[in-house]
């Protein structure tokens, strides 16, 4: 109970802007997860690539900003993972990545 109260009153807690901005950014992670099973033709290469660069930069930003924002860091690590996976699905769908089964067949 005491640690929950400490969280509520912390300088990056739910009474501050440092909390709700990062919460909004989890929307990108949720959207990426929701789109994981969509056909690759529906993935936007532009948006997914932009997200990969964006989350990489904001991981560093979250670490360096004062106060250090672990919630934002966790959000962007998760988003980077999801967006890189979506980017690989898009690239494979576009023919940029050789399918693994062809490499195995030529061995």
């Amino acid at each position: 109970m005491a640690s929950f109260r400490a969280f509520l009153n912390s300088p990056v807690g739910p009474k501050t802007t440092h909390f709700w901005g990062p919460v909004a950014n989890w929307g990108f992670v949720a959207a990426g997860l929701a789109d994981m099973n969509k056909p690759p033709e529906m993935i936007s290469g532009n948006m997914t690539a932009a997200m990969c660069v964006y989350s990489a930069l904001f991981m560093r930003f979250a670490w360096m900003v004062q106060p250090r924002n672990y919630l934002l860091l966790a959000c962007h690590v998760s988003n980077e993972t999801v967006q890189l996976y979506q980017l690989s699905r898009w690239a494979r769908g576009q023919g940029y990545l050789a399918p693994k089964k062809d490499e195995a067949a030529t061995e």
Binding site: T17, W20, G21, A24, N25, G27, F28, A30, A31, G32, A34, D35, K38, E41, M42, S44, N46, M47, A49, A50, M51, V53, Y54, L57, F58, R60, F61, M64, V65
Partner: protein, 108 residues
């Protein structure tokens, strides 16, 4: 005179040698990607992604005005995100609900 202003900018604690500059600056990439996608057919747009772009843009626009100091760069980039997100959402909603063909509804 101009040289010292450039130097002041270059050496600023939130200037181009730091992540505090590049991270918000690169956030424009999301809006630019979205603008590039204005010409994509609405069937390929993603409701979850555009909702995330719009909501993030709206929330961060407000909070960039509440922090100290006010961050106009962050404000403008998030206004742009909310704007492009809303436009893409309106394109997709118009497409999905204006035609009464079964294919438009079945895609959901």
């Amino acid at each position: 005179m101009a040289a010292s202003k450039v130097q002041a900018f270059w050496n600023h604690p939130a200037g181009p040698k730091t992540i505090h500059f590049w991270a918000p600056t690169f956030k424009w990439g999301i809006s630019i990607a979205n603008i590039a996608d204005f010409s994509k057919p609405p069937e390929t747009l993603s409701y979850p992604q555009q909702l995330a772009v719009t909501c993030t843009g709206l929330i961060w626009s407000r909070y960039s005005m509440v922090i100290t100091p006010k961050n106009w760069n962050l404000f403008s980039v998030n206004v742009a995100m909310a704007g492009t997100g809303l436009y893409q959402l309106s394109r997709k909603i118009t497409h999905d609900y204006s035609s009464d063909t079964e294919t438009a509804v079945a895609k959901e």
